[in-house]
Amino acid sequence: MDRIDVVRKGARPIPRLAVALVPLGFLGIFYFYPLGGIFHRSFFSGEIFSMATLLDLATSRRMAGIVWFTFWQAGISTLLTLLCALPCAYVMANFDFKAKKLIMTLATIPFVLPTIVVAAAFQALAGENGLVGGINLEHSIAMIFLAHVFYNFSVVLRITTGFWSFLRQEMGEAAAMLGATPGQVFFKVTLPLLRPAILASAILVFIFCFSSFGVILVLGGPGFSTVEVEIYRQAAHLFNLPGAAVLSLFQICFTFGMMWIYTTLQKRITTFIPQSQSHALKPVNTLKEKLMVASCVGFILVFCLSPMAALVVKSLVFDGSLSLAFYRELFQNTSGSLFYVSPVDAVENSLVFAAATLALAVVIGVCAASTIQRTGKRIGAFLDPIFMLPLSTSAVTLGFGIIITLDKPPLNLRTSVMLVPIAHTLVAFPFVVRSVLPAISSIPASLREAASLLGATPARVWFHVDLPIMARAITAGAVFAFTMSLGEFGATLFIARPEYSTMPVAIYRFLGQPGTMNYGQAMAVSSMLMLVTAVGFLFIERFRSFGDRGF
């Protein structure tokens, strides 16, 4: 192994450095520099160090309330998600039944939907004039919980199901042979063994709910504010930048801490998984088992499909009858005066930004993955988490950091079209890395050596060996970057100039306006966005070559 490394190091040091500089430079300018800006704003007014803003916020009763609310809503949301997902995970991990894969895919779709679409869907389902008549949960805490469970259900489901089906059957059998009743087997053996997986998924869900933005902003209304929403309100409505910076700093530190716990647990999981294949799934035989499977499948179908269905129905019903009026309206833009940008332009902006994000994310992601793979174990293990950092930073803090630092020399991008795709790339390229890295590491060195001994230049080796093998993984990453960009809301709301508004921003503005036509158009744009993301996700599911742990 060492010998090969030496050969590689000797072969082409300059391109390797250049390749490494692409992702590192990008992160440095568009991630660490804005982060530094937030830090600076928090402690300095002008050039003078001051703890005043920090102390102001720390002693504010309102802020204490917001922080407390952020914590407990995330806590309750996580608990509810676990309660719904764990019984389903039991069924999914232990029984074999028809259409199981389909059900799993269906359950995952909510997670890939843009948050603003989730928010719109729940408004369509249970909001004012929602599909479910008689209940109006708009601007209620119940609505926030529902949306959070809907969105995060599959995180717990997938992680625990994956882990559970790798638990060896003999563990339970060994316990039974030692006299444990089925109940004791579950509580003394299965549950303790599942604990790291449950904990890891719970932490992930907690982080997501903790930094939830679109759902709280839209469904909670003015009555509810989390740290994330407050950053936006302080910065965009009250222009209190130092205050927003301090809140961002709090948000960053907290999510980093949680992410660190999560990755530590993840490592425990991978070392904890016994080295065996998944155990044999049981066929569904008894009435009790049939009932369990039926209720699991029924729950997933109803819970995951109803908000999405409500959204589509609401977008297609105009004045009590089926009609495409809202969709037509989008492209006519009679009410253009209300908006900074017409819906057609928003669609166009979204597509252009998504294409740009795709290109940027693929280039940076592939460079990052190559760098991790080629720098060997020690440096690679250090670089890998650094490239993942943007994922641990909430979209709103990213957006906020960018607007307070990149709006003046040395780097003034305030009016640049590229600002939005750059922000989207920050969030998208780590996924390209995750997708490409396993593929790139799977290429044996001997393959490249064989090609070069056959006379291929380094560039041609890369083109003829690396690229074809990585192609599937790159495609999956690219599609992800594209759909992610289409749905990104938090950062875009911050940084997109009015003329560069995207579809999610348009939905948010439509939802904020009174009138059936605005509401209907919000539903129509959301439906379109939902369709595109769902299709993109299905495409990735069919295409991806890496393992089951997609989170």
Binding site: E170, M171, E173, M177, L178, G179, Q184, K188, P192, P274
Partner: protein
């Protein structure tokens, strides 16, 4: 009364075929080994005995009582799994204590018992170790201690040495046997390795394709394999086809053999059968001496000979029976490969197979 009985068990094993007509009785304290190639149904049979699987038909009887309605956790049987299935979230002590906790033993009794078990398996001082810090051999002993700690009425061991490397196996097998002997527990032991079975078992139950082929003590199994398959599995190479003749004779090719062993049913003459020639049954003779022998003789061409220390292995081609392999003393002078070879066969070295 038999301690443990498997009675006329049938069980479909999916892709592995079926278990058919399994009958096996065990005495108290007896150690029976299920021996056969992988996929022969021995593990399935073990799981049926444990209650982890239900037979399609037949009965599992312990001390005169059917166990079919009793779930595994109420049978008070112990089972050691192939890769030990130690609980990774519990340390060595807590693994061994698990069965005792399930039986609601008192804390102090549990501590005493676990320490006793650790001593028995020679792992004193290992109680607080994590399971993943142990070597393969240590894990095996922890698994054994965990299985034996709750004083099970019957112990089942599924390939107890299967996941260990060869050198370790021989030593651990001896330890395992001495521990089992000390506790005197009735044991069913599954293996595909005949040396293990010979060393560990009071009786061996040979299985193939879901059926029992032969149940016997190791000595009589080796001395009298009852079918060509058993002979083949035990490594015997010289099985030749023949027919039953008169007066306990066997006609094979143009030769006649008269085994020392009595034939069970002399009436069914001309019935086809198999004859096993034990590897040490042959003595080389001169062509003249060969000519004087009325029966129990073989001639052929020497193909190869291999020096093996105290004996040499000879491989010969015969017109009548194909390739045969024998072991003869190294001191004998043999013809060169390619030359004819004449053998006298000792009637004690002949076995008629069903």
């Amino acid at each position: 009364m038999n301690e443990f009985v498997l009675k006329n068990i049938y069980k479909s094993m999916g892709a592995y075929g079926v278990l058919e007509q399994i009958d096996l009785s065990m005495e108290k304290g007896e150690r029976v080994c299920l021996l056969g190639p992988s996929g022969c149904g021995k593990t399935t049979l073990l799981r049926i005995a444990a209650g982890l699987e239900q037979p399609d038909s037949g009965d599992v009887i312990f001390r005169g009582r059917s166990l079919l309605d009793i779930p595994p956790h109420k049978r008070n049987f112990g089972m050691m799994f192939q890769d030990f299935a130690l609980f990774p979230h519990r340390n060595v002590f807590d693994n061994i204590a698990f069965g005792l906790e399930m039986k609601k033993w008192k804390k102090s009794e549990i501590t005493d018992r676990v320490h006793g078990m650790l001593e028995l398996v020679d792992l004193e001082g290992y109680g607080q170790r994590r399971v993943d810090e142990l070597s393969g051999g240590q894990r095996q002993r922890v698994a054994l201690a965990r299985t034996l700690a709750p004083e099970p009425d019957l112990v089942m061991l599924d390939e107890p040495l299967g996941s260990l490397d060869r050198r370790l196996r021989e030593r651990l097998l001896a330890d395992l046997c001495s521990i089992l002997t000390q506790t005197g527990v009735t044991t069913i032991f599954v293996t595909h390795d005949q040396n293990e079975a010979f060393a560990a078992a009071d009786r061996i139950c040979m299985m193939n394709n879901g059926r029992i082929q032969q149940i016997d003590t190791p000595e009589s199994l080796y001395a009298n394999p009852s079918t060509p398959w058993v002979a083949d599995f035990l490594g015997f190479q010289n099985v030749i086809k023949g027919r039953r003749g008169d007066d306990g004779r066997v006609e094979a090719g143009h030769a006649t053999f008269i085994p020392k062993q009595a034939m069970d049913d002399p009436k069914r003459t001309m019935e086809p059968l198999f004859l096993l020639l034990l590897p040490d049954a042959a003595t080389p003779v001169t062509p003249e001496a060969y000519g004087l022998l009325p029966n129990n003789r073989i001639r052929g061409v020497l193909v190869d000979r291999f020096f093996q220390g105290s004996y040499q292995k000879i491989s010969m081609n015969t017109e009548a029976h194909g390739r045969l392999v024998f072991e003869v003393p190294s001191t004998l002078v043999l013809p060169n490969p390619g030359e004819p070879l004449f053998l006298k066969i000792n009637p004690r070295g002949l076995r008629v197979l069903g």
